[in-house]
Each structure stands twice: as C-alpha cells, then as structure tokens.
C-alpha cells in the first residue's frame, strides 16, 4: 500500500479510538463530513493546515499525521513531469502508486529534478549576468579598449623603422599609460568576479541565512539572554553560512532578534498568546501588541522566531523593501517561499506596500489538495520619519498563521479571501491576472 494512502486510514483509526463521529471531527476541523469521508478513504489528500487542525482536535502530535516530505516530493515529480520531453508521457494518474511502491527511485528522481531545476536557473542567472550585467560589460569594455590601444600603438612602434623621435616618445608614453590602465581594469575585473562568484554559488546569501535559521528552528537561545549575543561564535564555522555576505546578514539578524527579545521577553509573550488562543477570540495581533505594549513589526518578528512549542501554532513571516525584494524569510509548512525570482504579487505583503500605514488582514489560500489556508496580516511603513526632501523608504511585513479553528476564533472575522501562490513559475493558477511568466506546472 502506498505510504501516501496511510494518512486517511490513520485519521479514521485515531478518530474512532477517541470516539469522535465523522461529523464531529469534520465540524471541529472546519471541513464538511463528506470531505473528511473522502480523506479517510484515501480518495483525497489532507494538506498541512488541515492535518494541523485534525491533530489539534484529536489532541495528538501533528507529526503523527504529517506527510510534508512526501507531499513535497509529489509536487516536485508533478512539476518535473510537466517538463517531460516530447513523446514521453509520465503516468501522472499513477504518481502516488509510484512514490508508494518505489520510494527510493521516486526520491532519487525528485532530487534529480530539483537539481536540474536549480542548475537551469543558475545557468539562466549566469547567462543573464554575462549578457546584461552592466558591471561586467563595463569592465570587459575597459579591458578590450586598453588592449586595443596597446596593441595598435605597440605595432606602430615595432613596425615603423624610422619613427620621428617626438612621435616615438608620445607612443611610448601612450603604451605605458594604457598598460597601467589595463592592469587596473584587470584587477577590478578579478575582484568583481571573485565577489560575484561567491554570491552566484549554489546558494545566495539570503538562502544561506534561511538554511542556518531553519537548522536552528528559527530560534537561537542566545537572543533571549540579557547580554548581547557573541556574534563571532554564533556565525563563524557554520556550514550554512559559507559566504561573507551571509555571515554579515546572520549577525544583523542576531542583533535585531536580541533587541526584539529585550523589548518583548519570551515569558509574557507566550503567556499572552496562550491566553488569547484559549479565549476563543481567535488570533488578533493588534490586540496582542496593545496588551504587550510593543510595536507591531517587533511582535511579528518575535512570533516568527518563537521556539517550537507543541501547543502553539507556527508563524511565518516575510518582509520586503520598497522594491518588493524579500529581506526576511521565515517560511512555514504550506507557505512556500520562492527560491528564485520574485514572489506572488497577490500576497497581502505587496498589497500593503501599495497602501502604506494601512494594515491589512486576509485569508489566503495556496495551491494544494486541500489548499493550505492562512490568516495573513500585512503592513507597510517608512523605515524612518519621512523628510520633505529625502526619498520615502518603505518596509512591508506579513505574518502568516495556519487558519485553524483556534486561530480564527469562535466567530471568524469576515475577511477578504485571496487565492495566491508562491511564484508564477511553479504556480498552477494559469489564468491569474497577476501572472508574469508561464508556469511549468500544468494540471
């Protein structure tokens, strides 16, 4: 039996063991009984947020039901199948059977597909850099110009037997000046390639930081201490932080996290959060910020870096600058961040950027079966008081939490709902109004 078909069976067995009716479990998990019935009979797959909700209702560890890795593998293989060569038709209708019967081969194929995708993107980036990188283009132009001048002038000096002494002196001076110019240009090019080579490696600095944080569960105990964290000790010799840029970013992250922790210590935060979720009022970050007397952005960052606690949900966080570039990335299950390129322009994060100082909340749904749903809170504001002359520099942040019954509260608020994605390239919403490039995922 394929492993992926076990989750429904497991849910059914656990429900019966706890004497829940199908109708009761469905109601408490926020789905229809008929949908739960399909899941229990392994005819539909439960996504991460639904598994969280069911685990909460059944009072069991989420890991008992989680199959995140397998879901991810299925997604990778499905995306890979969409790029199959002409004449090769992968049996998508038997994909789960394949993964279930041959998990080793499926895992290997998935890893290869991911590697191919990563390499394709890397080639695209490098080609793009070669063709359009203004720094590289300027550096090469400078070198070729200097070489041309040296070659033409040197040839004149070499080939002209009786060159006027004044001309000879002038051309010698030109060769000398151009050779110095050539040396400087070559030095600049080498320095540029060295620096950019570091950034063009398998991971960009931000990805290195993200991997490092992920290994620590997005939480380092050192930030909770009263004394400032030992930046060198925490960031040197870390496998993930290979580049200098990533180590710098990790240090900046530690300093910010420590300042946040000083202003909002863990104990009162956890107490206030637990009290709020127990009250059936649902999760309201503005009320929480008021109770704790902290700015909203600080609360967002603290929530996204909480130590993993069984009775509390995980919070995801993204921040971007005014250009839309993601500057902070704390993904959670079901909320996938794009590895390459820009994110989905429909995220409330970007909507907030269009309406600075006006917080937004929305229910957002990512593609999936069933679709992962999150409650999202987004806001944008200038990073410093705006002057009359200086440009306005905005920063937007978006906090996400799985839209479970406990989060939504007994009386769920009436919120706008958006169907969003991670990145156009891997998003199956083909008719999306915000699409900027074709999707490789065909369904």
């Amino acid at each position: 039996m394929p492993r992926s078909q076990l989750s429904g069976t497991r849910i059914r067995a656990l429900r019966k063991a706890r004497n829940f009716s199908q109708a009761d479990l469905a109601r408490l998990a926020g789905i229809s009984p008929s949908y739960l019935n399909l899941i229990e009979h392994n005819r539909r797959r439960a996504g991460p947020s639904l598994l969280t909700a069911i685990a909460e209702v059944l009072n069991i560890p989420e890991q008992t039901l989680a199959e995140g890795a397998e879901d991810a593998l299925l997604e990778v293989l499905r995306a890979s199948a969409a790029t199959a060569e002409a004449g090769i038709v992968p049996e998508l209708d038997r994909l789960e059977e394949f993964v279930g019967r041959f998990p080793g081969w499926a895992g290997h194929l998935g890893a290869l597909a991911e590697r191919v995708e990563a390499q394709d993107r890397m080639i695209e980036r490098l080609s793009e850099r070669m063709a359009h990188d203004p720094n590289l283009s300027a550096a090469l132009h400078e070198i070729v110009s200097a070489v041309t001048a040296v070659q033409s002038t040197a040839a004149i000096l070499n080939d002209s037997g009786e060159l006027d002494p004044e001309w000879s002196a002038k051309f010698h001076a030109n060769v000398h000046a151009d050779s110095q110019r050539l040396a400087r240009a070559a030095e600049a090019l080498v320095a540029y390639l060295d620096a950019s080579g570091e950034e063009a490696g398998p991971a960009a600095p931000q990805e290195e930081l993200e991997s490092w944080l992920a290994r620590h569960g997005n939480h380092l105990a050192a930030i909770e201490e009263p004394d400032p964290p030992d930046l060198a000790e925490l960031t040197e010799g870390q496998a993930e932080l290979a580049s200098h840029a990533a180590r710098e970013m990790a240090r900046a992250w530690l300093l910010q996290a420590h300042a946040d922790a000083r202003d909002l210590p863990l104990a009162p935060l956890l107490a206030a959060l637990r009290a709020m979720l127990a009250s059936a009022a649902g999760f309201r970050p503005d009320a929480l910020a008021e109770v704790l007397d902290v700015p909203m952005d600080r609360l967002f960052r603290r929530l996204a870096t909480l130590p993993e606690t069984r009775d509390l949900p995980r919070f995801g966080l993204v921040e971007c600058d005014g250009s839309g570039t993601l500057t902070q990335r704390h993904p959670i299950d079901g909320f996938a961040l794009p590895r390459f390129g820009g994110a989905c322009p429909l995220w409330p994060l970007y909507q907030a950027l269009a309406t600075p100082l006006r917080p937004l909340s929305a229910l957002i749904e990512f593609p999936g079966r069933p679709a992962p749903r999150f409650l999202a809170f987004a806001r944008a504001e200038p990073i410093r008081p705006a002057g009359f002359q200086a440009p306005v520099v905005l920063r937007a942040s978006m906090l996400l939490v799985p839209a479970t019954p406990a989060i939504l509260g007994a009386v769920p608020p009436s919120l706008p709902q958006f169907e969003v994605g991670s990145n156009c390239r891997i998003c199956p919403r083909l008719a999306c109004v915000a699409r900027r490039e074709p999707s490789i995922v065909a369904r």
Partner: protein
C-alpha cells in the same frame, strides 16, 4: 612633426592630413572613436598610408559632418559617449546619398549576435577590437578601392 596630433575632444573634430603619398591619395577617412589612444593610432597609420583623417570622439551631428565633409570611408565605434554607433549607422543608411558610404564598424563586443546586428544595420565590415593595424589598413584600402 608635420601636424599637431592631439586626441580629439568630445564635440571637436580633429583634422590631420596625410604625411606621405600612398594608397589614400589624400582621400578623407572619418573616424568616430572615443578612445583617444586608439583614435591616435588609427590616425597615424592612415596618414602614413596617404589618407587625410577627420576624427571625433562622439557621434553628435555625425550625419551633418558626413554630408559636409563627404569622406571616402567611415570608421565607426559602436560604443560612443551617450550614443550607439549602430543607431548612427542606421540613420546613415536611411539617407539615400549616404547609402553606399563604406563603413567599418569597430566594437569591443565580439559576440556573433553583435556582428549580426552590425551587418543588419548596414555595416560594410565588422571588426572586433583588438584589431591588427595591418588588417584595418587592408580593409580601408579594399573598401575604398585604393
């Protein structure tokens, strides 16, 4: 030194006459090249071969200059300050009187795509930098029929 030979300033044309009788027979070559030492080397080898040379470090008013001076050939750098030499070339080819002017395009970009674009824009010959002096001279002679 028979002539003053300074690198042309942007906006100023530098005129130098042939220092010897040669293939050029006093005919005029216009050089649009912003690198002063490259421009100087080109002027030197052309003058020594009997060509008069008018050089400029930018492409401003290039069409008017060509109309007024009627050079026998144009040596055109692609990357001129603030201007693309190929845009100038297309404008030249759009004027019926200049349609047959021999134009050698010089560029530091050696990609096939750049060569194609230069030829499509109407270049008589495309020469990637760095070039050999003898090669450039041979091209000038051949295109003008000297």
């Amino acid at each position: 030194m028979a002539q003053e030979h300074h690198a042309p300033r942007e906006g100023a044309a530098e005129r130098t006459n042939a220092t010897k009788a040669g293939h050029g027979e006093g005919r005029l070559v216009l050089v649009l090249e912003d690198e002063p030492n490259i421009s100087e080397a080109i002027r030197f080898i052309l003058r020594r071969d009997g060509w008069n040379v008018l050089s400029r470090a930018d492409g401003d008013d290039a069409l008017d200059l060509i109309e007024a001076e009627a050079p026998a050939l144009l040596i055109l750098d692609v990357m001129l300050p603030g201007q693309n030499g190929l845009d100038i070339l297309q404008a030249i080819r759009a004027r019926p009187r200049l349609a047959d002017l021999p134009v050698i395009v010089l560029t530091a970009k050696g990609h096939a795509a750049d060569r194609d674009r230069a030829m499509r824009s109407g270049a008589s010959l495309y020469m990637a930098k760095p070039f050999a002096n003898a090669e450039l001279l041979a091209a000038v002679r051949q295109l003008v029929g000297a």
